[in-house]
């Protein structure tokens, strides 16, 4: 599953500028994170129309990169995140940026890892369900 990552300068109005581009193109944002590091930041979006989002953002001169992530559904109960973390740790998969949320009683983790294929394999072997982009958009 791909996210679109946008490089931005960390100054007022930048988030509005980027989300306006997506809004005007009719692109729906399903999930977003914004990370900053001093003078700049990176916004990451999961959107309903990835190609259109990339085309529109690039067309406005923005620096855009695609970022492949794993979305995994866990049960919404204590210890669920721990189970995922332990499974990955056991197989030597290092977690990068992660976020999680609960929507409609479903708990979703979005994981950035270097070893994507291995992460998918070990999570599925653990009996966890990986979500496709289409499933993410229907949450």
């Amino acid at each position: 599953m791909n996210l679109v990552a946008v490089f931005v300068e960390n100054k007022p109005g930048q988030t509005a500028r980027i989300t306006k581009i997506l809004a005007e193109a009719g692109v729906n944002i399903c999930w977003v994170t914004i990370a900053h590091s001093g003078s700049f930041g990176v916004m990451k979006f999961l959107v309903d129309n990835l190609d259109l989002a990339v085309q529109q953002l690039k067309g406005k001169g923005l620096m855009v990169s695609l970022l492949e992530v794993v979305a995994v559904e866990v049960t919404d109960k204590p210890g669920a995140l721990q189970a995922v973390a332990e499974c990955l740790g056991r197989h030597d998969v290092n977690l990068g940026n992660c976020s999680g949320f609960v929507a409609n009683n479903r708990a979703i983790l979005i994981l950035e890892v270097q070893e994507l294929a291995q992460a998918r394999q070990v999570l599925e072997a653990e009996g966890l369900r990986l979500l496709t982009p289409a499933e993410m958009l229907r949450l």
Partner: protein, 430 residues
């Protein structure tokens, strides 16, 4: 290989007295014959016999490019106007150029220095030397031509002709060495590639002497790789004969400046005071053998340094480092002299950095760099950009001795600077 082994390897203990004798002679001649220097000497109450050691050179007045322009066309002649046999001019994009007049012996000396320079790189009388530089008022064509002829090369004065004709001459006469603009060399590499010609396999071309426009070491490497050549850096300026003032030997580590013909100083461009050997500053040159138009302490505006230590090639003439910029571009930040080229060199060594950057001086004395990422320099990870920012900051600190603030900005977000456009914005409140 040497052209003039005795002069080229003359012990410093003999070279320096020779320089002093030639400097004294030069000073006596301009004091007797050139009104401009007579006036300058009178202003600083200097007698023609005041130069007793090489260190006394600092008592002499500087000559600037404005002085040369002000005395156009022949105001600085130390001989009668009938004496010179050649005129060259230095490109003036606006107004009058600088006119340089040469006597027969001046041309002989200039050709000798070019001959030394070429032989120093391995050129012999068996070489076929295609001179692709412009002939005419520009020194690059004719001065190199006479030097190569002196060595005994077959000289092809092709000048800046069409690529088809250059190639035909190269193929038919088996050209081995060229004098060529670096930008044209890169263009020519593409031209050959389009025609399916592999320079290594199909041509006898093995050496190139590049110059007459600024270029980076990376450009030199690109030319070498694309064409299978050994490329030599050189330094010259019309005011000092043009090509052949300083040249790389086969070690290719600095350019030997022919000190029996030119007295070299490195000065602080702000104060005019000499700098210790090895420090970067403005190159100042005095002609030691010129008859027609001797020049004292010419402010070249070029920033370089003397490379310390002897060269394995055995030549005793000291070596200049690459020209790293023009003194007019120098910035002073927190008391430290900084050249934009230093910053550029650090930035351009990183493939994730784009071509465009702006140097900002703000507040009391803060150096801020706005640096564009390369179009491919963003992989979606904020950490990678942060790490690049950190690396750039540390490398710049090590190079400049001042810690800059580095702001990485998106590709294409800075105003486009082409060529000489100013990249420096000074808003300091000092």
């Amino acid at each position: 290989m040497f052209w003039d082994q005795e002069s080229e390897t003359l012990a410093r203990s003999l070279l320096e007295p020779l320089q002093l004798a030639r400097l004294q002679e030069t000073v006596r001649r301009v004091a007797a014959r050139v009104p401009f220097y007579q006036r300058k000497f009178a202003e600083s109450d200097l007698q023609a016999d005041a130069i007793r050691s090489l260190a006394d050179v600092r008592r002499l007045p500087f000559t600037t490019s404005d002085d040369l322009r002000a005395h156009y066309p022949n105001g600085l002649l130390a001989v009668s106007a009938e004496e010179p046999v050649r005129l060259h001019t230095s490109s003036g994009t606006t107004g009058k150029p600088k006119a340089l007049l040469f006597s027969r012996n001046d041309l002989h000396c200039a050709a000798e220095l070019v001959a030394r320079s070429l032989v120093m790189t391995g050129v012999t009388h068996r070489d076929v030397f295609q001179n692709m530089m412009s002939y005419g008022l520009f020194t690059g064509g004719l001065m190199m031509h006479y030097g190569a002829e002196k060595v005994g090369c077959l000289v092809i004065p092709s000048g800046p002709g069409t690529s088809e004709r250059q190639l035909m001459l190269m193929q038919d006469f088996r050209t081995t060495a060229t004098h060529i603009l670096p930008s044209y060399a890169l263009y020519f590499a593409g031209f050959l590639e389009q025609r399916g010609i592999d320079s290594r396999r199909d041509l006898a071309w093995r050496k190139a002497f590049i110059g007459a426009e600024p270029y980076t070491e990376e450009t030199r490497r690109k030319i070498e790789e694309a064409l299978g050549l050994e490329v030599f850096n050189s330094y010259g300026l019309t005011e000092m004969n043009g090509p052949g003032v300083a040249f790389e030997c086969r070690e290719r580590c600095g350019m030997h400046l022919w000190e029996d013909n030119f007295l070299l100083e490195i000065i602080d461009p702000q104060t005019g005071e000499p700098l210790p050997e090895g420090e970067r500053g403005e190159l100042v040159l005095t002609t030691l053998r010129r008859e027609a138009m001797p020049i004292l302490r010419y402010r070249t505006r070029d920033i370089t340094r003397i490379l310390p230590g002897p060269c394995p090639c055995g030549r005793t003439h000291r070596r200049l480092d690459r020209i790293m910029g023009r003194s007019d571009d120098m910035l002073i930040v927190r008391g430290v002299n900084i050249f934009p080229q230093q910053i550029e060199r650090v930035l351009m060594a990183h493939p994730q950095v784009g071509r465009n950057y702006v140097i900002q001086l703000e507040g009391l004395d803060d150096l801020t760099l706005e640096v564009e990422l390369a179009a491919t320099g963003f992989d979606g990870e904020v950490e990678h950009v942060a790490s690049l920012q950190h690396q750039l900051t540390e490398k710049l600190k090590a190079e400049l001795w001042v810690r800059p603030k580095v702001n990485l900005v998106p590709a294409g977000s800075l105003p486009v600077c082409d060529g000489k456009a100013r990249r420096v914005i000074d808003r300091r409140s000092m």
